[in-house]
Amino acid sequence: MKASMLEFLEETTRRLPDKVSFYDDRESLTYAQLTEKAQRIGSCLAATAPLRTPVALLLESRSIRNVSAMYGTLYAGCAYAPMDIAMPAERLKLLLDLLQPSAVLADEKGAKAYAALGMDVPLVQYANAESAENDTEKLAAIRRQASVYDPMSVLYTSGSTGIPKGSIQTHFSYVNWTDATNEVYGFTEDMVFGNQSPFFYANSVLDVISPVSLGATVYLLPAGVLGFPKKMLACLKEQHVTCLCMTPSSFISIVNAGVLEPGCLPEMKWGIMSGESMPWPPLKVWMDATPNADWWHYYGSTEMFSVAVGKVSHEHDAGSRLPVGRPFRLAHILFLDEDGNEAKPGEPGEMLLSSPWIAWGYHRDPERTMASWVVDPLERGWQERFFRSGDVGYLQEDGQLMVLGRRDNQIKHMGYRMELGEVEAALRGLEGWEEGCVLFDRENDKIWCFWSGAPDEKQLRAGLKESLVRYMLPDRYVHLDEMPHTPSMKVDRNTLKQMMK
């Protein structure tokens, strides 16, 4: 068994040095080139960033440089935190303040975004790092000190208080997850992964990590390609993509554009749907378009990676909800009822997960870590540590997991995980804000903002844009002369819910 994700990269590089690892529309890297670049970057970073510190990656999102930067950070013995350089400056600064990185590794565009923040974290230019001298002695010394429990990545997700949470995964998490994932999907060396998910989302882990362990090839789909379904389809065909992992919303948007013909993607072998429930009709369109593919559903989150996975049967009963597959052999799920006792077999309960790859906690956030990770929840004395998923589900008789939804205000909007509380926190921070709330219309995937008082819609829109990522912005704004209240003077959300119809 491996003790570092770098061992996967090095093993593949020895075996297939001249095979293309990652490519985009501008650049391409063989495994030998990727390793060399990563070692140069690691040598350069190590001069600035001490062992086991976080490094923020600020790079153009659709570039394979992200991959060299990630593995380079690992060579320096550090953990990477990829960031979206297109997010509002205020939010980027918030994330960097939370992370307190020892260095920022940035390309030209990233350096520009970083300069605007006026922060004093040392900046390492990507161009300098990739051409730095490979200091083999130093890298060897770092490896001797490394532990399998060293942090490898910090991936941020939305938090209900307005403060994002940075999920920490270690080399140990990744090594175990990689073996389990390759096994369950039956992944092979000759695959071509089409990567659509940006590297700052946990969804991309499948595209960055598995292929390196297999010696497969990854093609980065061009920027904004989801907006151009015709072009997306052409890219998948021209690049002979055999595996595509996206959120159901992304798969659905291609179906809605009407570009998929039966049999049009014969080379596709794996269609993988992540994160939320996929309705049957659009899935059927994809199945018809990809006659040689198996379609997989998986359930997971940034903190849990994947929990359960399963192949969707082509003979599904169209009227019923799709299960998310069987729990991994290395995953242990507890189902708890409202009183915190184990739910009866087959009855829904909140899911708590233990697995070798659950995150260790939230970076520099002991309070919220304590709230979400619990030791020995049933008090049976075994001291097993679980992550509280916040999702409700149950195991069917056939062993498949059915996920029913959330216990709280976390939602998936346009395929992205977010907390409605984060939008409300941003509203409360706006000048002149009086009262209101944010609700989600799940059926139509729209966020509604209800408010009363002074600011007009334009001011709200402009204000929220300053601090929120765009997928968090409300779709509908409704100004009320007076907010409805419950007897205890809270905003009456049920009355407002009626207004969304």
Binding site: G224, G227, F228, M414
Partner: protein
């Protein structure tokens, strides 16, 4: 208001930080992404009372305002 003025006004509602009038490679240079695009299409639909079918569009249609206007006119049958 000319169609071009109408178009620029609609685009400014979506992104007020992008110089739509002068940029020639909005999509290729990554100045607008798929979020913007969805909003731009909705804004064009509303401003010109058309219905753009997403399966029809290519990046080339959105790289600059001239191409966007041509697309609008095609939908209007002009």
């Amino acid at each position: 208001m000319t169609d071009m003025e109408k178009l620029l006004a609609a685009l400014a509602e979506v992104r007020d930080d992008v110089d739509f009038a002068d940029e020639g490679a909005l999509v290729d240079d990554g100045l607008i992404d798929s979020f913007d695009l969805t909003q731009i299409i909705a804004a064009l639909d509303e401003a010109f009372d058309i219905h753009i079918i997403t399966g029809d569009i290519e990046p080339e249609n959105f790289n600059n305002v001239q191409s966007m206007l041509e697309l609008v006119h095609r939908y209007q049958g002009k």
